[in-house]
Symmetry: C2
Subunit: 437 residues, 2 copies
């Protein structure tokens, strides 16, 4: 049984094949999400279906894989049972690939104010909140309030934070400014807060610095060596002062699903299962964990990073182990230890701006952006989406208009009223007198 239809779970299903086996894949969503492009939905560059595919469709020619849309509530490794919202299932082998979630370092109350970016719904919510803030800024006459509405704080300068900040800056500077009459959206402030001394700290220092410069060239304020001390509605307190901002995005902490803590097996600080070198769970050789919910230093001494290639390589490794054991069920298991193969790492900052490290090659700027574009297109699952995304990118590149600036979901969630800081009635001026002679 496979839990999770992300990169890990899906790769397992695609690679695992055995005549005697049936696979059940459980995911709480009906779609596989191309998470590396999720920030583009949040920043109105792509529409939600562009980066998602129904899991059923991806696996529709696999008669041996049953796809079930359900929520996993508990995993009982000792009893070989998985409890979901609708049923209790037993398994012979278990592959856990439930991914990560946003964590707030002991401040769960920040989640309501500073949403993270993990699901399509998160992305659509962020897009809606940011576009709504510009709508409110357009009709506010209090200059302080207007600036607050046009300020976006991104907490965390990792790849997600940098990609979000760069895309927000482009949205405000090149796309939205033509649409509004009363505000100059180019005056929007995008601020990245990073606790360490540089953004993109997983990259070599020179490359990270190049990334930071490219970000600043887009007008993003980067505050390094700065920690968030508190987050309240509309304001962030940091070690270098208070920032008033209508939108605060949390891109700082990623942890494993909370289910891991109930497993009764060793986990690391972020809640990831400390798996054995063969990726199995200590004490349960027929249960494996891969991707963001597993923590492993591989046989070459490399800590496997929480990126999609890591999850996919792990999934293939587990598929091989189970296939081998099903082929010779009586032999003593002598499983191979997993080795991570680093294909390189990259982060995009904006149009023609990116940094990439592929083996010993470090590139930045336009060539890095082209490399990023190529890699992401190649790996986008599904034919339609590849063309739709390519078209939308190409079109955005040419004319700098964004196609997906649509605010939806207003009826699901009541939009918060403008802040009390706006003086009453200030909005009714002669500008609003309608058709005037």
């Amino acid at each position: 049984m496979v839990l999770g239809g992300g990169f890990g779970g899906l790769t397992f299903c695609q690679h695992f094949k055995h005549p005697n086996a049936h696979v059940t894949l459980i995911d709480r969503q009906n779609h596989h999400l191309f998470q590396p492009l999720l920030y583009q939905v949040a920043t109105a560059g792509l529409s939600a279906p562009d980066i998602a595919q129904p899991i059923r469709r991806i696996l529709h020619d696999r008669k041996d894989v049953l796809v079930v849309m359900d929520d996993v509530l508990d995993i009982r490794l000792g009893e070989q049972k998985v409890i979901t919202e609708n049923e209790t299932l037993s398994y012979d082998y278990l592959v856990m690939a439930l991914g990560g979630r946003t964590t707030y370092f002991g401040h769960p109350e920040w989640e309501q104010i500073a949403p993270g970016l993990k699901t399509l719904d998160d992305a659509v919510k962020i897009r809606r909140d940011i576009l709504l803030a510009f709508e409110k800024a357009e009709v506010t006459e209090d200059p302080e309030e207007r600036q607050r509405l046009m300020t976006i704080v991104v907490v965390g300068g990792g790849p997600t934070g940098v990609e979000l900040a760069g895309a927000f800056a482009e949205l405000a500077r090149y796309v939205l400014f033509r649409d509004f009459k009363n505000i100059d959206s180019r005056r929007a402030r995008i601020i990245v807060i990073e606790a360490s001394s540089v953004v993109l700290s997983h990259l070599p220092p020179e490359l990270a610095l190049s990334g930071q410069r490219q970000l600043e060239k887009l007008g993003v304020e980067v505050r390094t060596n700065t920690r968030v001390t508190d987050i309240k509605a509309g304001c962030v307190e940091t070690t270098s002062g208070t920032i008033y901002a209508a939108n605060i995005i949390w891109a700082a902490g990623v942890g494993a699903t909370p289910l891991t803590e109930k497993l009764g097996v060793p986990v690391d600080r972020a809640g990831r299962v400390k798996v054995l070198p063969d990726l199995s769970v200590p004490g349960f050789p027929n249960a494996f964990a891969v991707g963001d919910m597993a923590s492993l230093v591989d046989k070459n001494g490399v800590l496997v990073p929480g990126v999609s290639p890591g999850a996919m390589q792990e999934a293939r490794h587990v598929a091989k182990i189970i296939e081998d054991e099903l082929d010779s069920p009586k032999a003593t298991p002598s499983r191979q230890a997993f080795a991570y193969f680093d294909k390189g790492t990259m982060a995009t900052i904006g149009r023609s701006a990116a940094v990439a490290k592929i083996k010993d090659l470090e590139i930045s700027g336009f060539p890095a952006w082209l490399a990023w574009l190529a890699v992401h297109l190649i790996f986008l699952v599904g034919f339609r989406n590849k063309i739709a995304v390519l078209m939308q990118w190409f079109y955005s590149y040419l004319v700098y208009k964004r196609g997906s600036r649509i605010i939806t979901g207003l009826s699901f969630q009541k939009v918060s009223k403008p802040q009390a800081r706006t003086p009453e009635g200030i909005n009714s001026g002669p500008r609003y007198a309608g058709v005037q002679k």
Copy 2:
């Protein structure tokens, strides 16, 4: 001042131009919606941003038009004031184009169970509910419950109902059936309930009958001369029996916005303002109503139908009147009466299936479908969307896969649990034993 950014309000803004005038356009959404294709979002054929455009973007080169995203709460014609959620505005001229809404003929309690299709959020909700029902059917072993989950009832056999039913039938028969292992989605029942003796009763009898036959060929059950007597969760009671269905879509009643009833002016049964021949509101020559919120028999004795060409023609008529009066403010107003020009009417039923009436020409089947495609592409607002929609249609046409079968919004609204009719534990069978040796 213009209220509403639909076909009426937007057309007014695009056509009205006067050196001394400023226009304020108020809409509660940030986007103009291409409503004729909304059913395609509900049936997973298109994604939401494909058929919507930010109003700001459409009007971004009009310096004299201020776009405000706000909700109109009240209109005081006597005081020449409009009260919105955030402010009170006064006007010299008022163009009301707030459109229609779904009405339930005195049964507002049906709304929760049988959603209508008026907004993008409605469409996304319907899409989600229908895809979720198939997901549940896949894991249900009770055959009755499975059939209920795979039954969709469309109340109303007008153009919207017919288009929805045809698209649902295609979705179930040609698209979804490849994705599921346990259910045969081609056994889904799509039932259209129509009170009169034929669907598409606004068309000439022969054409309407042709439409009904095309619909039945797709496997849709059409129940004419049938009235809905009650709607409960999961079941519709009609004059020809009870139908158990997980999804019930209301495509029967369209009325004007409830604001019209507070205006204190004559309205028709559906709540539409009975406007004068020049489209002004009786007693208030500087206030006009156009589109779905106005009711008028034009100077040729034709009742202007509630379709987008009607709204657009009315909007242009009003723009001309106001421009003329601003040019010669002192002359006695002698306004032209509005005359509706009928360009024809069409309805699509499915891939290559449609009916159309253009002047005295009546066509059906593939040629009608081509005509429908051409007209809708020509009128789709905005370059990007036209190409995106064309591509998606063409792709669907070739391979019969739908690109937008993505369930989103689960976190906004808790999905209802499966009905109590499913016996407990019935879902845990040997099929679910996971990876089996």
